[in-house]
């Protein structure tokens, strides 16, 4: 088809969708819609991971980003009752400053892109490295120690979150009850 392979077509479509949804995240007025579009953007990026043969990363990306973090976002938006637009009207000064800053940033980006040189990859990565089987083998052989330590790290974070979240029992209240 027009000299492109299927992978290239998929890459093009996914990139187009990702950019479209990302724009919709910014432009939609309703915060809940924004979050939902962001979920779709994440799905498109997960598709990119699949194209690069990184199955595990794709699944984790959907489970963690689209699943956990976005649900958290939705919860917060609904709890704070933000489903209407409460944003204060921006003054023209802040708009002009925003345009100038964004324009400068664009200039930097264009300059950097023009200045890049084509680097030859010295180490070509193993194309199968992202498959779940290979990843698991690396994780449980070479990276066994970090894998175990992550459990300690998560445990510490869990204990910390519970400690901060637990309701403080007020001592004098207890005395009153007795």
């Amino acid at each position: 088809m027009l000299g492109y392979t299927i992978t290239q077509w998929l890459f093009g479509i996914l990139s187009f969708l990702a950019v479209m949804f990302a724009l919709l995240v910014v432009f939609s007025k309703n915060p809940v819609h924004s979050v939902l579009y962001l979920v779709l953007t994440f799905f498109c990026i997960a598709g990119h991971y699949l194209l690069m043969n990184a199955q595990f990363l794709a699944i984790v990306h959907i489970a963690v980003y689209a699943g956990a973090i976005m649900v958290l976002f939705l919860f917060v938006i609904m709890l704070l009752n933000l489903n209407e637009q409460h944003e204060p009207r921006r003054t023209s000064v802040s708009r002009i400053i925003g345009v100038i800053v964004a324009g400068l940033f664009l200039m930097v980006l264009v300059g950097v892109l023009k200045g890049t040189e084509q680097l030859q990859l010295t180490n070509t990565a193993n194309a199968e490295a992202g498959l779940i089987k290979n990843l698991g083998q690396v994780l449980f052989n070479e990276f066994l120690f970090p894998f175990e330590i992550v459990s300690i790290l998560l445990l510490a974070a869990l204990v910390g979150a519970i400690m901060l979240g637990k309701k403080e029992v007020k001592e004098n209240v207890n005395e009153n009850r007795i």
């Binding site: 680097l119 970090p146 330590i149 300690i152 790290l153 510490a156 204990v159 910390g160 400690m163 901060l164």
Partner: protein, 463 residues
Amino acid sequence: MNGLIIICGLGLLAMISEIFKFRSVLFPLVLTGLLAALALNVWEWNNPMHISYFENMIGFDRSALAFSTVILAIALLWFVLAQDYFKSGQHLVDHYALVLFALAGALMLTGCKNMTTLFLGIETLSIPMYVLAASKKNDLKSNEAGFKYLIMGSFASGFLLFGIALVYGATASFDFEEIKAYIAVFQGELPGFFYVGVIFILIAMAFKIAVAPFHFWAPDVYEGSPVLITGLMSTVVKTAAFAAFMRLFMMCFSNVSELWVTLLAVIVALSLAVSNFTAVMQTNTKRMLAYSSISHAAFMLMIIMSDKGETASVNSLIYYSLAYSLASLSAFAVIYLVSKNGSEDITELNGLHKRNRLLTITLTIALLSLAGIPVTAGFFAKYFVLSQIPSDTLLWLTILAIISSTIAAFYYLKIVGSMFFADSYTKEPIVVQKSHAFVLIVCVVLLLLFGMVPGLITELALY
């Protein structure tokens, strides 16, 4: 390695002690565990059988063992000190578990030989500290401290990860030794983003050890956190972060030292100037000690900068962290005991001489040591730093260091003076528990001992 395993086990034990109802024996258990870890460290020192473990992920050579011994010893003293702090709160078990997990992270940092263990060590050390900083839940300042620490710490972790990714992209390895070998072979042909990566890692580590211009979180966090947690931050956390800094820059990136030595010189100069001039104006003791810790961090960075053959530098870094930790721990202990029924204001220390003799003597020795006055350990710590700086290229830094420590001596001695000669608003004596008195006396004796016989540390055969 054995120490690390024991500390992880103790953390888990602390968590299940609530379920199986042996909470009351948890404190002696933790002390025994720490003593066992210390003893095993000494044993490992004498029988170096395995240097590295788990595919070279972590390795306890002698310098790592020395650093972890310092950390474990300080932690032991800290636990004895913090006994009644644990009793007062409602989340006794959680506090124990969090401190022990932070300790595990600290030990991991002393032995890291791989970027993954470095990152995980820093996170395991930091995350419990964020929570502990916010552990006074009803105190607005404590909440602010925890939140600020979390945001700034996550920011630094982001820098660290980005830097690690860039260095990995250039050298295709996480392993310190492999990266070093790669740099040695391909020196001069390394891509630009490798250098950016090294600078990002440097920035992240500077955040963690709190040196200017990445120090802005430190005074607020030190002030807001509970006193004992601040004591933990300025001793254990700092020592561990410096151990990692040393391993990373003296061992892994030593071949590109011309890149980071200049940067470190700027960081050191800024920290010395900012911290000492600001510390003079502080009225809160904890805030003042925070600025003083920034200036001490700058001194420790000078050791890393003036790397003259690894052994001497590592020895003086260990000596400096030990001297600083002991002095800092005893200073925070005194502030904790004084501020129990009062405020943390500097005027609270006025006339302490008439309220409690032991506290006055301890704080005097600790402050003299921080100022670097002879007979205390702080003198030789600073002496080794200044004698190791190459005088041909960095003479200006030596002069700046001497000027700033003179200013530092001024504000330390001002407190000493007010303790003896100023009038306090109350004459009510402060009662010190036996266990607290024990810790204070041990700290003072060690400070004087290391000050008189510095060879105990500096002549340790690290290799």
